[in-house]
């Protein structure tokens, strides 16, 4: 029991230290993005576009699958509960608020933790093991400016975009159930969906997606930069990137929801 507690404590300490490192990395990101360009160090925007395609566009199918099927499942579950009280047309209301404010940012963030976070950690980690990062530094190219800024910027742009798609995919899944199986008319679904939806729900969802994108990028890149050893170290960093990202996304989601709605 004591050993387990000690192991838990070590894991917590490791996560805490990593979060501090990630904050430092974010400071470096802000410096190379906002300050350094005034000193002649350009941001590689063409690389941002390339990474946005690699990280974001290629993730559209998996974001569609996850959000769509969760939308279908959620609609059936909610309708089952509402049927007890009568007004099953309010399923649309739950779908709208649920996806815009909560589900799509969370689901897309978690999907991207697995898709982009792991990929970033493995890519940067492999570069570190192969001395590519040292080669960059020796060539007077800062790895944070050269590698991390374009990738983090791409993730922070693409996660909100994918979250927007995720909203549409998820709500469309619910819409198919409501109109196909529950005899709710498309207009009624649409009206009920918009009734409780506030502008605040939309911007909160957007804010969450930006923060989750930031977490995915920082954790993936940070784990890659901290790789030690060879292939085993890269594997460990990749696993840590996914686990830490999911933990931090869920904790951040909880904090944001409590802070913004209570």
């Amino acid at each position: 029991m004591t050993d387990r507690l000690a192991a838990l404590g070590r894991s917590g300490l490791e996560l805490y230290r990593f979060v501090l490192f990630a904050f430092g990395l974010f400071g470096g990101f802000l410096y190379w993005l906002l300050v350094a360009p005034w000193k002649g160090f350009k941001v590689r925007y063409s690389e941002v576009a390339r990474q946005a395609v690699r990280i974001g566009v290629n993730a559209v199918p998996i974001v569609f699958l996850v959000n769509f099927f969760v939308g279908v499942t959620l609609a059936i579950t909610v309708a089952d509960i509402l049927r007890i009280f009568g007004p099953i047309e309010y399923t649309g209301a739950v779908m709208g608020v649920g996806f815009w404010r909560e589900l799509s940012p969370l689901l897309t963030g978690i999907v991207m933790a697995g898709y982009a976070g792991a990929s970033l950690a493995a890519e940067i980690g492999t570069m570190k093991v192969g001395e590519e990062l040292m080669a960059l530094e020796a060539s007077a190219l800062n790895p944070v400016r050269f590698l991390c800024v374009p990738r983090l910027l791409a993730v922070m742009i693409m996660v909100p975009v994918l979250t927007l798609f995720g909203n549409l995919f998820g709500i469309y899944g619910g819409y198919l159930i409501c109109t196909g199986l529950l005899d709710i008319s498309p207009q009624l679904f649409y009206d009920r969906m918009l009734d409780p939806l506030k502008v605040k729900d939309i911007w909160v969802g957007g804010l969450k997606s930006v923060i989750f994108g930031c977490i995915v990028g920082l954790v993936g890149l940070g784990q890659g930069l901290q790789v030690r050893g060879g292939a085993e170290g890269v594997g460990r960093a990749t696993t840590n990137a996914v686990v830490y990202s999911i933990i931090l996304i869920i904790v951040a989601d909880c904090i944001l929801t409590v802070a913004l709605y209570f």
């Binding site: 000193k39 492999t126 570069m127 192969g130 001395e131 590519e132 040292m134 080669a135 960059l136 530094e137 020796a138 060539s139 007077a140 190219l141 800062n142």
Partner: protein, 291 residues
């Protein structure tokens, strides 16, 4: 060396300006000066007060057994790590005291050939070589393409620019790494085991390139190597690192004639001699017990 009729050269002449190019160095001037360098990892000392000078145009070969600090010294010289104490002056500027951005002007003046080649795997061979040119110069793309072809020709890899590193053998990667290291026509080139993985003919080609760069262009070369035949072929001066110190230093002839048993065991590659191949039983027991 400097002409004797002129005043003796300032050992570290000039005060490089912001572009790092203002300091004028003549062949024979000291362009790297490491003074009393200490470095340890996790409390284990690797370098214990190493001091060394490198002059413009000379080829310095650094020899030593594994774990005796030669690669660490190289990493410190290129600014990849900081020493625990001591100073490292490149072109008259102490890089241990500079902010990272201030080291860039200095780093543009040297090239590094890493042991594995350290090519950027997501880029083609041509992109690897052109990267420093694109990032640090305003050259036209056509000019950059020509320079890339010239550098590849120098290392015997004509028409390889469209391949990716995964399509190359270990030796080819190393040659591409060398082409990248010389892309900006540096004044210093650091080589980490340049001969490892190369066939004898290509090793001779690389050796000729190293000596040619020194003789014709005044490039200083710092070569970390175990290849004794190659080392004696290229060196103007050699040092042997042992136990975190510089054990011996001199010209190839002086090194050959030295009667130091450690040096002789190393350069002759003998299994028997004063260099311990195994830990003593006491050290081994301490290691096992974490002492």
């Amino acid at each position: 060396m400097a002409d004797a009729s002129n005043p003796p050269p300032n050992p570290l002449p000039g005060n490089p300006g912001e572009d790092g190019r203002d300091g004028q160095f003549q062949k024979g001037d000291v362009i790297i000066r490491c003074t009393d360098i200490f470095k340890s990892y996790d409390g284990r000392p690797i370098l214990k007060g190493v001091s060394i000078d490198v002059r413009k145009g000379e080829t310095l070969v650094v020899m030593g057994g594994s774990g005796h600090g030669k690669s660490t010294l190289l990493r410190l010289m290129i600014g990849a790590e900081l020493p625990d104490s001591g100073t490292i002056e490149l072109f008259g500027q102490d890089i241990t005291k500079l902010k990272e951005e201030d080291t860039y002007a200095i780093k543009r003046r040297f090239g590094v050939l890493f042991q594995s080649g350290a090519l950027y795997n997501s880029m083609t061979v041509g992109e690897n070589i052109s990267l420093p040119l694109r990032e640090h110069t305003d050259l036209d793309e056509n000019i950059i393409d020509i320079i890339v072809k010239l550098k590849l020709e120098l290392v015997g890899l004509r028409d390889f620019e469209h391949l990716v590193p995964a399509q190359l053998s270990g030796g080819m990667k190393k040659r591409v790494g060398l082409a990248r290291a010389i892309a900006l026509d540096p004044e210093i080139i650091f080589y980490d085991e340049p001969g490892a993985g190369l066939d004898p003919v290509m090793l001779a080609v690389i050796d000729e390139l190293i000596t040619g760069l020194g003789e014709k262009l005044g490039v200083a070369s710092i070569v970390v190597t175990h290849e004794m035949h190659s080392a004696f072929r290229i060196a103007d001066r050699m040092v042997l690192m042992h136990g975190g110190h510089i054990l011996a230093e001199g010209t190839p002839d002086e090194i050959k004639k030295s009667d130091d048993p450690v040096l002789q065991q190393f350069i002759q590659g003998k299994a028997e001699g004063p260099i311990p191949l195994r830990l003593s039983s006491r050290d081994f027991a301490e290691d096992l017990l974490g002492g």
